[in-house]
């Protein structure tokens, strides 16, 4: 890259930095240059929440309760019902949504005409029946990722979402709603990294995944993640988010995946590997290595994209760029804020549910953060409101039986940032294939057209 030439890419990034006001003391260029989206870049942050959506949640396990905790912060969410086949789980979740009616019967939730939106956070293999019924009942649906544990189920869900053009179907790929990624994607695609050669993603957390219950009949049910027939393992249940983010950043789908898995530590009779590695091959591009383990928490989670001019390190909603010593200068690096990212020294303090104070390398940098889950749910509810209004206005003005016209008008609506059913389908298919390769310890080809619904 010729340093004398001011390419549109460099103009974009310098404008962004200067507008962000991130002037700082002069530091060496060897430090990481933080890449951070402005709060104002997120359309959801600007909008006043005026439209309430009557919402129900189906599936009140650990993640369902995390969703309910997040929904407590969103005035747009009017929780009407919480549903779980296990009464104790629904009761426990009830404390997070006291005005919602607990029930064990999801059909009654779908039959309630008042309920406009449904969040599905059940075990993956139960998504298909609930999601298709919810869409048929005219509900907007937020379905946790992966969408399904088999290709057939994923196709059924994707087809149902495609048909339901008057409704919002949002896969739970929350990274797709995070403004940090909407900033990073065009930045990275503007090629400041030079030639990208290698990418990695990892997730390390020492935890068993095995759950216990005083009720022996429940034990098998709640340990679905350890059941080879029902679970997509670490790559599907955890890795799907990080891998989808990398695929999005790179702007390309892989053509093959080679996996390996082992039960390295948790020798408790489980069949699902507790440590995995998956190697994704991209055409003309970097290869991506994804690793995850339930046996060690060292290094936590993160992703790296390495290029001949620079590399980007991502950790959750934060990111840093590291330039090569011989890389051409853009000019704005000199003014950008830098933090030394060496060995893992950060201490994370969670002050309250919506803020995270992060101190890295002793600089005491504090960054209030909204979780990507909150952005995803906020945008889901906002989009439900938009589509409801658009449907109402269309029906008042035109023939509601004009399906083609209806679909055209709704397609023209610009929705808030969120994963589409296509994103969810592609990510789910990739997770299923990656898990297949991990279990067989071999290569799985990913032919053209695999990631699109035929």
């Amino acid at each position: 890259m010729n340093p004398e030439v001011q390419s549109p890419a460099t103009d974009f990034t310098r404008r962004d930095f200067l507008r962000g006001g991130s002037l700082a003391a002069m530091m060496t260029l060897l430090g990481g240059i933080p890449l951070r989206a402005e709060e104002a870049a997120n359309p959801a942050a600007d909008a006043k929440p005026v439209i309430k959506i009557k919402t129900a949640i189906i599936g009140c396990g650990v993640w369902g309760r995390e969703i309910l905790t997040t929904l407590q912060r969103l005035p747009q969410a009017e929780m009407v019902a919480i549903c779980d086949t296990y009464e104790s789980a629904a009761k426990r979740a009830g404390k997070l949504a006291p005005s919602a009616k607990p029930t064990a019967d999801f059909q009654s939730v779908l039959a309630d005409k008042d309920i406009q939106a449904v969040i599905v956070a059940t075990p993956t293999h139960q998504h298909k029946d609930i999601v298709t019924a919810a869409l048929k009942a005219g509900k907007h649906v937020y379905c946790e990722a992966p969408l399904a544990h088999t290709l057939d189920d994923a196709k059924v869900i994707a087809k149902a979402a495609q048909e339901a053009f008057k409704q919002i179907f949002q896969p739970g790929l929350q990274q797709r709603s995070d403004p940090q990624n909407w900033f990073l994607v065009p930045f990275i695609r503007s090629a400041p990294l030079g030639k990208s050669v290698m990418a990695t993603g990892h997730w390390n957390k020492k935890t068993s995944w095995r759950l216990d219950s005083p009720n022996p009949d429940r034990v098998k049910e709640i340990n679905w993640r350890l059941d080879k027939a029902l679970s997509l393992g670490l790559v599907g249940e955890i890795g799907i988010h990080q891998i989808d983010r990398m695929v999005w950043l790179m702007g390309n789908q892989p053509v093959a995946v080679r996996g390996y898995g082992a039960i390295g530590f948790w020798q408790d009779g489980r069949e699902v590997p507790d440590t995995i590695e998956a190697f994704f091959e991209f055409p003309d591009g970097p290869f991506l290595t994804y690793t995850a383990t339930l046996a060690s928490s060292f290094q936590g989670e993160g992703e790296v994209l390495q290029g001949s001019d620079a590399s980007v390190l991502m950790r959750g909603s934060r990111a840093w760029m590291f330039k090569e010593v011989d890389a051409p200068l853009f000019g704005w690096e000199v003014y950008a804020r830098k933090e030394s990212i060496g060995e893992e020294t950060g201490i994370v303090l969670r002050a309250d549910a919506s803020k995270q104070k992060v101190a890295v390398g002793g600089t005491g940098v504090q960054a209030p953060e909204t979780t990507s889950l909150q952005y995803a749910l906020e945008n889901f509810l906002g989009n439900c409101g938009e589509i409801n209004a658009a449907v109402e206005d269309f029906v008042a003005a035109y023939d509601p039986n004009d399906r083609k016209g209806f679909a055209e008008v709704l397609k023209g609506i610009k929705l808030r940032h969120a994963a589409t059913w296509q994103d969810g389908y592609a990510a789910t298919v990739l997770a299923i294939k990656a898990n297949e390769s991990i279990l067989k310890r071999g290569q799985v080809e990913l032919p053209k057209g695999l990631f699109e619904l035929a």
Binding site: D46, A47, A389, A396, A397, Y398, D402, G405
Partner: protein
């Protein structure tokens, strides 16, 4: 009553019923109803930059002489409704400010009623005189419109027309105060002058 008188009376009665059914001044009116494919744009200015909002919902009906727009001098009955919330710039704060300024909950629609359509020189060229209601205030306007027959037909095989027009407006005419607000880009004051342009697609009701 003798038979002839009864027949005549029945005939007159039937005729009156037919007229009442069409609800119009002419016996064979054609009703056109709004179709998807319409567009509406309002352009404005401000102290920082020009802006515009766009929508694709123009509801309403038009009742005309069967030979319209080629011939027919009878006043078309036209009623148009545009929901304010469908007009978007997709710059969230701007849309929110616009909806607040227009007091959208109180006045959710922009409405237009045609009072007269005056043919101009060219084919399909008219001056539309009508009452435009924005923000609850009704003002009489005259604007040039073009009415063209489209090649496409409705699903039921009905004819389709496109009515296009544009007109300058002022916010203050409709009791809307120019907006004065702080946005991310800085302090912004909108100008009073607006330009309303539209393409309204209608299809014959079969």
């Amino acid at each position: 009553m003798n038979t002839t008188l009864r027949t005549r009376t029945l005939g007159l009665f039937a005729g009156a019923c037919a007229l009442a059914a069409t609800g119009s001044l002419f016996a064979q009116a054609v009703t056109y109803t709004a179709q998807p494919g319409s567009k509406v744009k309002i352009e404005g200015t401000s102290s920082i930059h020009d802006w515009d909002v766009n929508g694709s919902i123009i509801g309403g009906t038009m009742e005309v002489d069967p030979k319209f727009p080629d011939a027919g001098t009878v006043k078309p009955a036209v009623v148009v409704k545009i929901p304010v919330r469908t007009l978007k710039s997709y710059q969230k704060k701007m849309d929110e400010v616009m909806q607040e300024t227009m007091e959208m909950p109180k006045f959710p629609t922009i409405e237009y009623k045609l009072t007269e359509l005056k043919p101009k020189g060219g084919k399909g060229e008219f001056d539309a005189v009508g009452d435009l209601t924005i923000h609850g205030k009704t003002v009489s306007t005259t604007m040039p419109v073009t009415i063209e027959k489209l090649a496409t037909k409705t699903e039921a095989g009905g004819a389709m027309l496109k009515i296009s027009g544009k007109t300058p407006l002022k916010m203050t005419t409709f009791g809307i105060k120019p907006v004065d607000v702080n946005l991310v880009v800085g302090h912004i004051t909108t100008g009073d002058d607006l330009k309303l342009s539209f393409e309204w697609v209608v299809g014959e009701k079969k």
